[in-house]
């Protein structure tokens, strides 16, 4: 089993196209908007510090020089693509000498931690529940799981999060209201207590994401299971006298897993968009919360930098899932991809 080169190259070409498109949109939007973040920032500083207008003009000029905003557009574009290719996303305007890369580095691990945990758990639980519900030999009680899971799957995670905060952080305060760790504790990744504190804070945001996505995995899995059940190879396995659990795991589940993995690649974007909002609702110190803060401050290099980073991350993850796919399913035609 190996990945055919032509297929891999095709997917790589597609990945590059996605990255280039994302970067170009990222470059164009600020050029198209009549909003001028540099001016807005300077106006703000004038209001704060009482600068006179000639000093302000100097400030605008020097900032524009730093950002290279006076060069011809194509030069800016080439420089932008070159910088982006080297993963240089520029500086924050609001916290000036701070680089966008630094901001991403500080926040991304928080996001990856709770989003990956929630996604893996939801994928496993949802797939198994959906398969059991779709499998005609399961207990009838399993069917009852489906309506509530389907309801949760329809509601956005951040809306569910609001309810969870109210009931499980305010009414019955078993979880903290906000944040990634207690304000009283010190950030110390070597102490076990700190990890526990972090897990305690991550639990509620993760549960809101989990509850919403479990239903989505279960719904698609159930539909797949129902179609697989009628397949000839299942009837044959039954005729051979194989035990039901064996047919379930080795024949039915294995075949229905493949579309689930494609769906994982397709849904990464939704999951990340969802977690961005969840982080803002919970004031969780991840990259989504930082994006929310940058939006309110109109710190445009940070907004565009974070969005571009997330888009790139998802594109790369999708690429990796695409590469794994032929290893999992020997039937797919590599050349057609």
């Amino acid at each position: 089993m190996r990945i055919p080169i032509s297929y891999a190259l095709k997917r790589l070409g597609f990945l590059l196209a996605v990255l280039w498109t994302a970067a170009t949109i990222n470059f164009l939007i600020p050029k198209l908007t009549p909003r001028d973040p540099v001016n807005e920032l300077v106006q703000q500083k004038i209001a704060q510090m009482g600068l006179d207008s000639s000093a302000a003009r100097d400030m605008v000029e020097s900032l524009k020089e730093i950002y290279g905003l006076d060069d011809p557009l194509w030069q800016q574009y080439v420089r932008y693509i070159w910088n982006t290719a080297q993963f240089n996303l520029g500086y924050s305007i609001v916290n000036y000498p701070k680089r966008v890369n630094e901001i991403i580095g500080e926040t991304i691990w928080w996001t990856l931690g709770f989003v990956m945990t929630a996604t893996v758990l939801a994928f496993v639980i949802g797939t198994v529940v959906g398969a059991l519900v779709g499998w005609s030999e399961s207990s009838k009680y399993v069917q009852w799981l489906m309506p509530p899971l389907a309801m949760f799957s329809a509601v956005p995670a951040f809306i569910l999060g609001l309810v969870l905060i109210y009931y499980f952080a305010f009414k019955i305060p078993i979880f903290p209201l906000r944040g990634g760790f207690s304000p009283t504790s010190e950030v110390d990744w070597s102490s076990f207590e700190f990890w526990l504190d972090v897990a305690h804070h991550a639990a509620l945001p993760a549960i809101s994401l989990l509850l919403v996505t479990i239903g989505q995995w279960a719904l698609s899995m159930r539909a797949m299971m129902t179609t697989v059940e009628g397949a000839d190879y299942i009837t044959f396995a039954e005729a051979k006298g194989l035990k039901s659990p064996r047919i379930f795991f080795r024949y039915a589940l294995r075949n229905t897993m493949l579309p689930q993995i494609t769906a994982l690649a397709m849904r990464l974007g939704f999951i990340v968009s969802g977690s961005t909002l969840v982080e803002n609702i919970f004031n969780y110190p991840g990259i989504g919360r930082r994006l929310g803060g940058a939006i309110l401050a109109f710190d445009y290099p940070v907004i565009y930098g974070i969005v571009l980073f997330l888009v790139m991350g998802i594109a790369v993850a999708t690429f990796l899932v695409d590469l794994l796919y032929p290893l999992l399913d020997p039937r797919i035609s590599y050349t057609g991809g």
Partner: protein, 290 residues
């Protein structure tokens, strides 16, 4: 299917398809709430300082007031209308563009199909919500953003899924016998699309519309929750923004939190049921148990 009997046969069908029936019932209820409801409120009460602040629900303020002195009943009625309108605009524009592109791509094929398919594939990989965050946060004067403007911003991405879905349906239908028959009898491309393909695609168009409106509502709620949009108008997403801003949780203002959540949940559950019901209508062979 036997047609005729109008309303009665619709009721009879909805009895066999309870998901669609319940979904439509909830949607009609929400639409009534958002339209007829206005008769019972003063629409000026949705703005800050029009009422005393932080009132718990009572006879005078059936749903209470928020920390800016907005009447929440009035805010929810107008907010539901705004949010559903934004979704409708995004959905209709998205479906319109999607139908045209889907047909061009699926029916005529060729280079145009390759181009459209490629663009759709690229845009499916880029998370639409993040793209919207970038676009919407760059709009000049976001504080004055109206319903139509928000709807159109969301439309920037709302055509992608319909295009894909409709293209796939057209592709599968193009080779069927009745289309061959129409070709043989000398019908032109446009005539086949309008007379043969469109009627058969109606259920899929309805599914795409429900999906696009749903996605539009979701996107606009998300943007507003992040504080992008008109901060003065009481759209449902802005209500969420303000309750975060004023820390309604710390003060236990349950009415401010749970009321918009209930309305939003109803909207999404209505769309879920409608799409399950339409799915059953379009593919009667897939029996769904929800």
């Amino acid at each position: 299917m036997r047609r005729g009997g109008g309303f009665q046969s619709l009721i009879a069908y909805l009895k066999r398809n309870p998901a669609l029936g319940w979904g439509l019932a909830i949607l009609v209820f929400l639409l009534l709430f958002a339209s007829v409801g206005e008769l019972f409120i003063d629409s000026e009460d949705v703005y800050p300082l029009s009422e005393p602040i932080n009132e718990i629900p009572s006879a005078k303020y059936p749903m209470g007031t928020d920390s800016q002195g907005r009447d929440l009943l009035a805010s929810l009625i107008l907010g539901t209308r705004m949010t559903l309108s934004i979704g409708m605009i995004a959905g209709i524009v998205g479906l319109g563009i999607g139908t045209v592109l889907g047909f061009i791509s699926g029916y005529f094929g060729g280079v145009l199909d390759d181009v459209i398919k490629f663009i759709v594939d690229v845009l499916m990989t880029i998370p639409q919500f993040l793209l919207l965050v970038m676009i919407a946060s760059s709009v000049p004067k976001p504080d004055e953003m109206g319903i139509v403007q928000m709807g159109l911003i969301v439309s920037v991405v709302s055509w992608v899924r319909p295009t894909r879905a409709i293209r796939a349906q057209v592709l599968s239908m193009r080779e069927r016998a009745f289309v061959m028959m129409a070709k043989l009898s000398g019908m032109g491309g446009m005539e086949i699309i309008l007379k043969e393909l469109m009627p058969n695609l109606l259920p899929y168009l309805a599914i795409s519309l429900a999906g696009a409106v749903n996605a539009g509502v979701l996107s606009s709620l998300g943007l507003q929750t992040l504080g992008i949009g008109n901060l003065r108008e009481p759209s449902l997403g802005m209500t969420i923004y303000w309750l975060r801003y004023y820390n309604a949780f710390l003060r236990g203002m349950w009415w401010w939190i749970l009321e918009p959540v209930a309305v939003i949940a109803l909207i999404f559950i209505a769309f879920l049921l409608i799409s399950i019901g339409l799915d059953e209508f379009a593919n009667p062979r897939t029996r769904r148990a929800v």
